[in-house]
Amino acid sequence: MKSEAIVAALRQACPGVNVTSRSGLLGETFVVLPLQCLRHAVRLLFEQFGVRHLSTITAQDVGDNIELLYHFWAGEGLTLRTMLPKSEAHIDTITDLVTGASFYEREAAEMLGVVFDGHPDPRPLLLPEDWTGGAPLRSNETDPTAAGPTHLEQQAISEPEVQVTPGERMIIPIGPQHPLLKEPLSYLLTVEGERVVDSSLRIGYVHRGIERLCQQRNYVQNTYLLERICGICSHIHTTTYCQGVEALLGLQVPPRAHYLRALMCELERIHSHLLVLGVLAENIGFTTIFMYAWRDREIVLDIMEELSGGRVSHAATVIGGVQFDLDQQHARSILTRLDDFEKQMETLRNVIYHERSFQMRTRDLGYLSMEQVQDYCVVGPMARASGVDVDLRRDAPYAAYRDLHLRVVTAHGGDVWARTQVRVEEVFESLHLCRQLVEQMPGGPVTVRAPRRVPAGEVVSRTEAPRGELIYYIRSDGSDKPARVKVRTPTITSLMSLFDQLRDISIADVPAVIGGMDLCIACADR
């Protein structure tokens, strides 16, 4: 196994210190390292093993110490764990080694009060500028809600106006309310004439503190709370969470439930990809494609509604299985409608592929090389469009994906056009998967009874959301409420690469780049 080789190399590289490892649930290996060894270990992972993908950093409060977990993906899950005292929570940054660690370190800094020495941009990421309530995820800290609202009249709003500086440079604020944004976030674009030379980003407008709320509610309630992290990919959130909790419980989910979960996942992927195709088309002024894409999307929403009862939030996955079943007649009707949908989707593909103006607006825009994708740890269709062949449905199959035949779509352009192509082809691939799922679905029950109390333990659960790798870290202390739930959604990785994508493009192309990134700010802010 690769992780065993890595652990052996780590032991060799850090002589005289205690490096222990154990394999955890869902194939994750946990390696415990002393603080001074961490940077060394990260460098070793890169240089010797080529492990470059940092999934996220989880910080958690464990009594007198703060624990940091660096979740890597090395073809299998590998977590480096280190501990630092609460009284002196200092650690060296690893952003010089992994550029993509930047946002994760900022989040750990504001949520747990850890100081990352040498971080290039230590501003808060999600909390508001006037936040005075302390680190929200530290226990035995004063109650963060006690911070109370500040008076509106005394508050200065921090979004700057349009500024012109002597060197003909102009700063243009976009957002938080702007026609090209469906959700609030704020960019500041520095332009020279029509050319964007610099940009900065502020998120956190939809930060709802879900990770803390999770600690206050029980496991069943959390299913419904976590579903509302995002309205577009709600099903994959519950599936990832329940998969983690089931692993902690040691629960065997019936195979039919796995198939139904995967069916919903694929329907959701189709709906999400069509949604973003429409939004991209609208952003570049191509309203016809927007209308076509959203009209066809209704077919998929109808199927999802018939299956689960909800168009957008489905409450389909529960701990121990799924909440609905599918009968023969219904399965046939789904297959017929998917055939109709495929015909309409082919028309849409023809329009997109053969319409020159669409390509002219999207080619060579928002370019990310394979190198940059790996630097920023970008995931999902964004990474696949730059030629990185990664898809957790194939690499770490969950639910029913083990039994399915799946082709991973990649492209090599690295621009908005390549991303569009990847998404269009993935819709067809998902259709293919849906048919396999309905046809091969085994019989039997769809749910098993799950106990309310979860034994103490921890788990890292990974799935492939429509936008890429979704990762949950769940720690249980043996009660009916989780001690820590950490969620890293795929959008946050794309946001880190935004600066590189916006540099040196014309300001008129900014909407196309943003549309092509498929941002979901509700996911990123949580």
Partner: protein, 141 residues
């Protein structure tokens, strides 16, 4: 000719809407966007989604109000020329909903702005949002 009657008639037939997500999960937002697309098509009722608050009559809010978006919400509301109306779409914009009790939330929209119409649902169906908007039209009359 009674001009106020003409103005009222015009207002009733052309509700221009600006949409702002104050902290929601996207669920209601995509349903609002869905209203513009062929199946629901609210333009047939004279309802148009506007990009700028300065052109709008109605502020359609989704989601609970987070600390960060509270002042921006106020600012957007102040930019809408009077008379203006506020519609809270979704359970969390009505009351805080599933996120009730979080450290970063102010509660529902009515904690910050006067709300004229509440549309509950998590997320709201497009039909419910249309009904809410038509209810607002009746209220305007």
């Amino acid at each position: 000719m009674n001009w106020s009657r003409v103005v009222r008639w015009a207002r009733r037939k052309s509700l221009w809407v600006v949409h702002y997500n104050t902290g929601g999960c996207n669920g209601c937002d995509i349903e609002i966007l869905d209203l513009l697309t062929p199946r629901y098509d609210v333009e047939r009722l004279g309802i148009l989604r506007e990009a700028s608050p300065r052109h709008a009559d109605v502020l359609l809010c989704t989601g609970p109000v987070t600390r960060q978006s509270r002042d921006r919400l106020r600012r957007i509301y102040e930019q809408i020329p009077a008379p203006r109306w506020v519609v809270a779409v979704g359970s969390c914009s009505c009351s805080g909903g599933v996120f009730y009790g979080s450290y970063n939330l102010m509660g529902g929209i009515d904690q910050v702005l006067p709300v004229d119409m509440y549309v509950p649902g998590c997320p709201c169906r497009p039909e419910a949002i249309i009904e809410g908007l038509l209810g607002l039209v009746e209220k305007i009359e």
